[in-house]
Every structure is written in C-alpha cells, then in structure tokens.
Amino acid sequence: MNEKLLKSYLPMSETGFYILLSLNEPRHGYGIILHVKEITDGRIILGAGTIYGTLTKFEKDSLIEPAGEEDRRKLYRITEKGKWLLEQEMGRIDEMYVNGHKVLGGFNHDQDI
C-alpha cells in the first residue's frame, strides 16, 4: 500500500507539497491559497481549480480528512498517512540538498540538517 503511495506521489509537485503542508492545521480551500501565498512570500499563488482537484484526490487517497465546517466551508486536516508521505518527500529533498552542496562545495548548510 505504502509502496503504491510513494510511486504515485514522489517526487511531489510543489503544489501538492504545500497543500499537504498547509493542512497541518484545519483549513478550507481558500484558506490554503492564502496560507501558501503567505509562506512562499507570494511566489506560489494556487489556482482554485487546482486546489479543488488536489483536495478531492488527497481525500480519496486518505492523505487528508474532513475536519468540520467553518462558515459553511468544508475544513480539511492532514492524516497520519499524509504526514508519513510528507516526511518521505522531505527526506528526498534533504538528500538532494546535501548532495548538491557536496558537489558545489564551499557551503556549510549541510551542518544544519
């Protein structure tokens, strides 16, 4: 089951990564757009169609689950399975980061990890 998840989701798109990350706290669709815009300093502005489609897919794969309602808007939160997937992706990014700096050299960033 988990092998299947890794195969279909990794490497993750930035879109998928940030949507999943935003659901660390219960949020509705538009809340995710605002949150991602804020934490990426306006670099990523997600389209509403993209959010809707991704949330539907994530819920079907149990990466997220409904977490009640706010002003008649459906809230979502990340599941344990979703968190596990995020960790796998972060491990992959860490590896890329370390290897990249090893080759380019001259940086001390890998000590931070």
């Binding site: 538009y30 389209g47 509403a48």
Partner: protein, 173 residues
C-alpha cells in the same frame, strides 16, 4: 444586449476564453450563454480586464462553488458539466489551474465520459441495426448504418482531440 453565435469544440476553450476577455476589454460583458454555450449574450460595460476560464466538472458540488466564489470567480452555467468562470484582475492574469497535473486529471475525467458514451452509442445502434436486419422490411438499414458510422466517427474525432490535449499537457509537465 448583444447576441453572438459562435461555434467551438471543447478543446478550443482557450480561443473562447481569449475572445471573451477581448470582448470585455472592448466594453462587452458576458451575461449568459444559451444552446450549450454556442450563443453568447453580452451587455455594455466599462472596459475592464477580466480572465475567463472554461471548466468541466462531472458534478457541481457546493465545495467547488464556494471555493471559486471565495477566490473571486463568477460562475456561468453552459450545461452538460461545462462552466465559464470569470475573474476581474489588475496586473497578473489569474489562472484557474496552476499545475498540469490537475489539467491532465480533468481531461481524463472527460475522456472516461466520452468512452462510456461511445460504448453506449455502439450498443444502441448495433441493436437497432440488428433489429432492422431481422425485420422483413430492410428499408431503414442503410440509413441506420450511415447514421451510426457518422456518430461513431464524430466520437472518435472528439476522443482523439482530448487525448492529444492530454499528451500536450504531459509534454509541458
């Protein structure tokens, strides 16, 4: 009120989106569409920049409607699962889909419906042709065969175009 008839296929949605945007820049705002999105009604307005997007949803859910409203889109119904969305903007042209993955997923959903329709068409025409064939009066047989082939050709044409668009998105992705 201005009435314009325009024929278009689903995969030519970008052409219609750009045309609607140009109309609004020239002071004509979309009011509604009729005949499954072939007849457009416009009213005079102050020229503004507005992005139009054509979307397909197999089911219109309250979640979809609320999210789009929150994000500043107006929704127009075309029919058969098609919608036109409009959002006014100043600087950056807004997009409804900001990744190719969701565009591919949307086209795949469309493809599934088309395939089911094609199979249903084959079954119903096959039945009709078989019944006529077994009938003593075979006068309708050629007509049915020609009609059946024409509809089948049309479906194949539509499916080919949707598949080509998915391939195009895959390449960009």
């Amino acid at each position: 009120m201005i009435k314009i008839f325009k024929f278009w296929w689903a995969w030519e949605h970008e052409m219609i989106e750009n045309w609607l945007e140009e109309m609004e820049l020239n002071g004509h705002r979309l009011v509604e569409t009729k005949i499954k999105g072939l007849l457009f009604y416009f009213e005079r307005c102050n020229p503004v920049k507005a992005r139009y997007c054509i979307d397909y949803q197999s089911k219109l859910t309250p979640d979809y409607v609320t999210l789009l409203k929150d994000d500043g889109w107006d929704l127009y119904q075309i029919g058969m699962g098609w919608y036109i969305l409009r959002k006014q903007y100043e600087d950056e042209r807004p997009e409804l889909y900001t990744d190719f993955e969701s565009l591919i997923a949307r086209n795949k959903a469309l493809l599934a419906i088309l395939l089911v329709a094609t199979i249903m068409e084959c079954v119903s025409f096959g039945n009709m042709i078989w019944d006529t064939y077994n009938d003593s009066n075979k006068a309708m047989l050629p007509v049915l065969c020609i009609m059946g082939s024409a509809i089948l050709a049309f479906f194949s044409f539509v499916i080919t175009n949707v598949v080509m668009q998915i391939t195009k998105f895959r390449k960009k992705h």
